[in-house]
Symmetry: C3
Subunit: 336 residues, 3 copies
Amino acid sequence: MLAGTAGFAAAEVALSGYAEIGILSSENATTARLLGVTAGDATFHQDVEVSFALSGETDGGLSFGAGIDLDETNVGLGDDSGTTVFVSGAFGKITMGDTDGALDWAVADAGALTSMGDDHTTHVNYFGAGGLDATFDNQVLRYEYSFGDFGVAVSLEQASNGSSAVGTLDDNVGIGATYSLDMAGTAVKLGLGYQTGTVIVSGDNPNTLDDPLTFAVENREATVRAGADVWGLSASAELANGISGSLGYTDTSVDGVGNDYSNLGLGVTYTTGALSLHVNYGSTDPEVGASDSSYGLAANYDLGGGAVVMAGYGSDVDAFTAGDQAQYSIGLGLSF
Amino acid sequence: MLAGTAGFAAAEVALSGYAEIGILSSENATTARLLGVTAGDATFHQDVEVSFALSGETDGGLSFGAGIDLDETNVGLGDDSGTTVFVSGAFGKITMGDTDGALDWAVADAGALTSMGDDHTTHVNYFGAGGLDATFDNQVLRYEYSFGDFGVAVSLEQASNGSSAVGTLDDNVGIGATYSLDMAGTAVKLGLGYQTGTVIVSGDNPNTLDDPLTFAVENREATVRAGADVWGLSASAELANGISGSLGYTDTSVDGVGNDYSNLGLGVTYTTGALSLHVNYGSTDPEVGASDSSYGLAANYDLGGGAVVMAGYGSDVDAFTAGDQAQYSIGLGLSF
Amino acid sequence: MLAGTAGFAAAEVALSGYAEIGILSSENATTARLLGVTAGDATFHQDVEVSFALSGETDGGLSFGAGIDLDETNVGLGDDSGTTVFVSGAFGKITMGDTDGALDWAVADAGALTSMGDDHTTHVNYFGAGGLDATFDNQVLRYEYSFGDFGVAVSLEQASNGSSAVGTLDDNVGIGATYSLDMAGTAVKLGLGYQTGTVIVSGDNPNTLDDPLTFAVENREATVRAGADVWGLSASAELANGISGSLGYTDTSVDGVGNDYSNLGLGVTYTTGALSLHVNYGSTDPEVGASDSSYGLAANYDLGGGAVVMAGYGSDVDAFTAGDQAQYSIGLGLSF
């Protein structure tokens, strides 16, 4: 049993949990292979997570904290391993680890609500405005500061952990700004960001686990990176009638000829009582070749007490197979 | 330090712990090889576990929850990874994950008490009434409902995560029922179950880890499965004088000629004050070839406060070596 | 959210956390290779840990407990896996697992304070007085007892988990004693220890992880061990003026000619208000060949509430490369 020390004023560790139960179906080739199913078959799904939130305050009034999950155990040297650590005070807030770069921090994602398979936020053209984040090990250092309705942030992700070797790629450096305003009862937030550094052009993303079943035999593809810069902007709004939405755009310039591309994203969410409905649309327009688009749907029904009925759909979740490969899930999301 | 929020009425995460300290000795060939000892040598043993119990309730009165241990971290796609999630209400209870199928749920195991090496419940003919559970990934979906002295359950374990491919083996489908009655001060419980689907005939069980030290060089044996069905029944009783016991039987029919077998199990436990003694016997009777039997012993002495002195013995713990290979352990089991 | 059960008198699980944020730079060749940097480059560093302390008491007044961290999950058979379990009472205290042998328990380390990279306590000649601990799997059983100003301990680390096979090396058996006294306001503690058994002479230490990036291709070196015995002593003192320090010596005799060596360590710490400064020096004097020395520095500034500014330096952290390879770190250590 747990030793509660209620009223403890100093540094503390707070626990929370999350669980899922339901059915998931994906036409993504890797997912189907991992599950041993034919693409599109429906599979039982469950997931359980426990999170630890660490928080404290210095005698001088600085706040500090950190976050780690049950499945983020051994924090690797020079890596974030999914964790974050922060310090904040009158000077602003510094965060290091698995956190958004300044562009992603400023520019609004198109998604809202939750689904078991993240179906509606992982379709291939989903507008996540991640910029150049995670080109390297995704250990990001971000400083943010807010004054009145304005917020600003700068960020840095070291290339190769700060290696000084000749030929080391450029660090990812970002800057972002937000402005919140009220337009006749509609809360509006504008975001603008710029990031310069390096992008992954092709090959394996070092932040994505290879298929453990085939790792030993597959040819691990070399990660090919190139210099790049991105700018992006977004406008999001919350109307008084339960409707909210966002519109965003990013433009990525990659070294070499014909490598540039832009992304557009639109999301709309409607909430009435316990029910929330969401749709988002994203498109990618490359400098050379045809543009592509995909969309996501989500429905949440709040049962109270932390339980939510969740349904999600992504119109195309496989970037490596021609045509559209859909994914859906339906089940319960349980927060503790 | 911990942030206790005593009196919190909503969803919560409860912590518990368990530790062991003592000596263990096994004649099992794999265990001896893993430890680098000669079969039967006595080895220091310790183990520490922390468990998280998540629980909540919807506004409409449904209960829900989940369980995960410290060493069950990354829940694999389509897998249970040792975790469970449940939802219950007036309609009954639904559990998904690492849980018993309906036959195992209904038919009583022969074992009782605890030992560090689970010596008394892992001997080769131990009567665990597992039926066809864990033929695949052990992610079981079970529905149960009780009314008065009766309980019923049905269960499903997907074959190959629900693959629709031609040649996919049969899902494991189970049904079970229990009836509790009082016979002149003796609490009696009867269990009856049936399960049909697929069984592992030979080769590696995908739910059992291979020896990590030799995994790279050993030939991983292909898992051979065949269609099967099982029925089983049990009677267990708790007498007023501190004696309890159970008797169970399962009969397994496997496709093909000469593959059937039956299992019989008997367990008796006696408790007086802080001391409990247990013995169980199990036998396997194949359609072709000689039958085999083994037994287990356990003694527990309760020191109070969560500490128990535990001794265990299994008469044969190695199914792959001729003759009997015994295992014993003695030490403390500490619950927190 | 957390379920606090304040005032629970029985066995309990207490949570604590620790996080680091800052910059680290190492000239150690393996560290640089792991990070993909040129030796000495400065790298972002963060780390987050959560620890579980389990404690309880029997009805008869015996205390018992165990400790495990978030990244110590699956406790291996016959291994300590970083955990400890203990039982204590009027008879003394028994600890099993990842704990000091009796020599290390008695003889004071030269180090004090903390740094992100443990720079000041991992330089190659740091005086840690570990004796023969961790020659095998580092699962140590230690018994300790104190009476008045005296403390004594004996310890045992099984060779090859207690294998009875011919040719098995000697267990590590240790004995240690401490004596505390007050000399005109200066608290003095003397330590004396002896350990006999087996030492690692060359090759891979089985308790040290190989570089995971190159494990598949590197030739794992065979671990070469030999019989050995060590004796050691130390004197440590805490002066009333904020100065504390320790002086220690160990002498290790290894089977064969010319294999012996001795270690000397000196550490001094000065604390004034929130600031603490520390320096330690260690030297190794082999029977054959030149002696070597290195030193460590640490500065801690306590911000209160669990936050400490930490700087550390080690003059040589690479035993396998000629010359001195330094390491330093600076950042925040946050305790929750």
